[in-house]
């Protein structure tokens, strides 16, 4: 399209990046490169859901930017088994985990028509060049049916100054409208008051690099050691596929711990797994060598739970908080472990990023797509 080409012609252009700048930017987005145990044709790594909240150190005066990777740095394959000793941060936490996993494993959970996971995604970020922090909340509902993932519904909850001090700074700035990533409430993929529907073609579940059919998901091992072996076996196959693909080279090979943590996290918080599998996931994750178990933590909303926390090597730790009575997931969160410059003012101990699980389970309800909204159409699936 040549419309407005005059603007492209006349306005000053941007100098090309200086040597190394793109690699530096890449390292800021992904985790820094490190010596490899194995360096083949694996694309640069991007980690799990909450790994996205991890950050990297500030370079010069630049704003620190979260890492996608887990910054697992020098971690190597752990080779841990479910019989390894868990790291415990609070007295009795391991016993609490055992008890809750036992209860979960005994739960009967009859399958119904659809699987629904209602989540709230909470992100805290600086507004208008670090003047103050805001908290943005989006709602996502993930539906899956007998044939696999079905649709994701996304809607906005709202954006507010984070603290009283942030509110004062916001008012001092003239109380600009806060609309999530869109500062004047236009131009948004998900406008306020409406829901965007993203239908999926029926098929496999994509849990990080591991693909599982609905049947395979239901038949996952209920023993933590076997489950771990299954995940690593499937991971190795996926890695081989990537090595043999045309994917551009460069990047790191994730450790076994990375694979188990990321896939386990999604088995626990997203996919329609059986309670017995979820119990096995809890035990499997708790025995990873760099995972700590802490009882009595509170998620971003103050809900008490049992946390499995894994340091990322960056300024954030990832944690999964589960209900200590039922074992149901409450939240997946990114917790700063050191001061993060662009989040100055974030209260100590607060999460920078959180995915709250509001409700998860089988239902006879079904998603209702707007008329004409299908995986094949390009019709706008907004309602």
């Amino acid at each position: 399209m040549n419309d407005f080409k005059i603007i492209d012609d006349v306005m000053p252009d941007v100098p090309p990046p200086v040597v190394g700048a793109v690699a530096e930017a890449r390292a800021r987005v992904f985790r820094p490169h490190r010596p490899h145990r194995l360096r083949l044709r694996f694309p640069v790594w991007a980690g799990g859901v909450v790994a996205a909240a991890a950050t990297v150190a500030v370079i010069g005066t630049a704003v620190a930017v979260p890492l996608l990777g887990d910054g697992a740095g020098d971690r190597t394959g752990d080779g841990a088994t479910a019989t390894a000793t868990a790291l415990v941060d609070s007295p009795g936490a391991e016993e609490v985990l055992d008890a809750v996993a036992d209860r979960l494993a005994r739960r009967e959970e009859p399958e119904r028509a659809n699987w629904r996971v209602e989540t709230e995604l909470i992100e805290r970020w600086p507004f208008a060049g670090d003047e103050f922090l805001v908290e943005n909340r989006d709602r996502e509902v993930h539906w899956a049916g007998p044939d696999g993932p079905a649709v994701v519904e996304v809607s906005r909850v709202g954006t507010e100054p984070l603290t009283a001090a942030d509110r004062a700074a916001w008012e001092q700035a003239g109380s600009p409208r806060l609309c999530g990533s869109d500062s004047d409430c236009e131009n948004d993929q998900v406008p306020y008051g409406r829901t965007r529907y993203i239908p999926a073609d029926p098929g496999d579940y994509h849990l990080s690099s591991v693909r599982l059919s609905p049947q395979e998901l239901r038949e996952l091992p209920q023993d933590p050691v076997e489950l771990k072996e299954e995940i690593l076996s499937r991971w190795a196959r996926a890695l081989k596929d990537i090595e043999n693909s045309d994917t551009p080279p460069g990047g790191d090979v994730p450790s076994d711990g990375d694979a188990v943590w990321w896939v386990g996290q999604r088995l626990l918080t997203e996919a329609p797994t059986t309670p017995q599998t979820r119990a096995a996931v809890l035990r499997m994750l708790s025995t990873l060598p760099d995972v700590r178990i802490t009882d009595g933590v509170r998620d971003i909303e103050g809900r008490a739970g049992l946390a499995l926390t894994r340091d990322t090597g960056g300024p954030y730790a990832e944690r999964i908080v589960v209900d200590r009575a039922t074992g149901d997931p409450l939240a997946v969160e990114g917790m700063p472990t050191v001061p993060v410059p662009q989040l100055k003012g974030l209260p100590t101990g607060s999460a920078a990023f959180s995915k709250l699980i509001r409700r998860m389970g089988w239902t006879d309800e079904a998603p209702a797509l707007p008329e004409g909204c299908t995986p094949r159409t390009k019709k706008d699936c907004l309602r």
Binding site: V14, A62, V65, P199
Partner: protein, 179 residues
């Protein structure tokens, strides 16, 4: 635009997200860097990819390709710095392009002869309503089609058409040339 299967798998499989970065980082950096100072632009370019990663479940290949989706995220991030963008245009309106903008003079000699200078254009861009400016600059800098702009901004095709039409009329009035 139909999204290539490889591009979809790059979004859905997080291990392959590096491909999305490699393919699109420089153009996203350039787009933001033409609207904001470069130090801010480089941060926001990186943040564009972080947001895309976090929200990758929301990428809908049926609605378009990865490229307009990234431009949409970048545009919304620019929106958080609207005052800085307007300050930049006003500064350019007063001082013209930076002295090291070499390629520019030769490239646009005809345009300048026609009276469309960096200063006048910057002043005009600053006066455009944000929605129109976003649409215009996605077309000008990103080369996005109407469909892609609609996808990037999350608005209807007709809205894009009317924004661009209004913007074209305003710019013609302010600059005295047909765009």
């Amino acid at each position: 635009m139909i999204t290539a299967p490889d591009e979809v798998s790059s979004i859905t499989a997080p291990e392959r997200f590096g491909v999305v970065f490699d393919t699109h980082y420089e153009e996203i950096r350039r787009y933001i860097g033409r609207r904001l100072d470069l130090d801010i632009a480089e941060d926001l370019a990186a943040e564009t990819f972080l947001i895309a990663f976090r929200r990758r479940d929301r990428f809908d290949p049926a609605r378009g390709s990865v490229r307009p989706w990234l431009y949409g995220i970048a545009t919304n991030l620019v929106g958080r710095h609207r005052r800085a963008e307007l300050r930049r245009y006003r500064a350019l309106a007063k001082t013209g392009p930076p002295p090291d903008d070499d390629g520019h003079d030769q490239r646009v000699v005809d345009r300048v002869a026609a009276g469309v200078t960096v200063g006048r254009l910057s002043g005009a861009l600053a006066r455009l309503p944000r929605g129109e400016r976003d649409a215009v600059l996605l077309a000008a800098y990103g080369g996005l089609t109407y469909d892609e702009i609609a996808e990037a901004l999350g608005v209807a095709y007709g809205t894009v058409a009317s924004r661009l039409s209004r913007a074209r009329a305003r710019l013609r009035d302010w600059l005295g040339v047909e765009l």
